[in-house]
Symmetry: C2
Subunit: 194 residues, 2 copies
């Protein structure tokens, strides 16, 4: 089995984005991460700043049909999701690439040429990483991680109806804190190539 | 990081046991799977047949303290669990080895020298495997798989208070149906050795 696209879902602070970038570099293919925001903005008509602010956020309760009394209403997040879905499907058709985040592994779940990856690590390792590597300035990096996890998990559950960390949704899940970033890149590189 | 022990948790029909055996053979170390039943029988005092029958089964409700009106009661499964815990810890101390099933990844979770692995595959691939490889004769292999999954998941949740398929409990999770048995063995072999 050879793959065309690698879709990486990742816990905040796990280094999933770095793994995606290093992998893409070694495979000489493109890595889509923050660039997706620009594309989603263009497709949806929202500003780049707005898309960034709402990135991987599910609609809040008062934006749902129950609260708006409009059962045909579409929230801004739903518009962003539809744009994102279209862009990710188009990218995957267009060229071999790595896509980080934005439920790409779910959006492309029926394509056998997509390697679906989940990168995670324990809280302590991720807390160290967001302070030392991302340069986050926070009194409690653990709380920041828990908040971000909660947000991403809720977003994932809302749009995919699956559990974010359920191994069954992925071809391979790796603990980057235990295995190390480079070992994760090597494993994915070998899987992609052979 | 080098490892001493590989603890493999696996979905029924995923080939996790075969992966464990092949890996142990290549590493020239022992693989404990059904042999554990004999050891647990010796340690607990129950017969081998009884241990086999109750294997990876949680106590039923009428065996719990609430139903027995005895809050200090220990179910037979609890005795088996205690024996299993002791045997698995002793094995891991004693020698490098592969241990398949029986929540070994949970029992040994605090040992950094243990590589914690989860092997899974989709229902269709597992149904084919239990009929073609295990020689199971059943009208509905899918139902047999669902029943077995339900039993193992409940057992795992009862004794570990974690979700069986949660990627966060493992160093690596692999879809053997997508990646193939031999590729899974290669990945684990490389991880263990280097």
């Amino acid at each position: 089995m050879t793959y065309r696209v690698v879709a990486i879902s990742r816990e905040f602070g796990s280094g999933g984005r770095t793994i995606g970038q290093k992998l893409a570099e070694r495979l000489n293919i493109k890595c889509y991460d923050s660039e997706l925001i620009q594309k989603i903005a263009e497709e949806s008509g929202f500003s780049k700043d707005y898309v960034k602010k709402e990135d991987e956020n599910k609609p809040s309760y008062w934006q749902t049909p129950f609260f708006t009394y409009n059962y045909k209403a579409t929230s801004n997040q739903d518009v962003i999701w539809a744009s994102q879905e279209k862009i990710i499907k188009d990218l995957a058709k267009d060229q071999p690439c790595v896509i980080v985040g934005r439920c790409a592994e779910y959006i492309l779940r029926d394509d056998p040429k997509v390697l679906k990856v989940f990168i995670h690590a324990d809280e302590e390792k991720r807390a160290q990483r967001i302070v030392n590597v991302y340069g986050e300035k926070t009194d409690s990096p653990e709380k920041r991680i828990r908040d971000k996890d909660k947000q991403r998990r809720a977003y994932h559950a809302y749009y995919t109806e699956t559990d974010w960390a359920d191994a069954e949704n992925y071809d391979i899940c790796l603990d980057s804190g235990r295995l190390g970033i480079d070992k994760c890149v090597n494993i994915l590189h070998d899987l992609y190539k052979f």
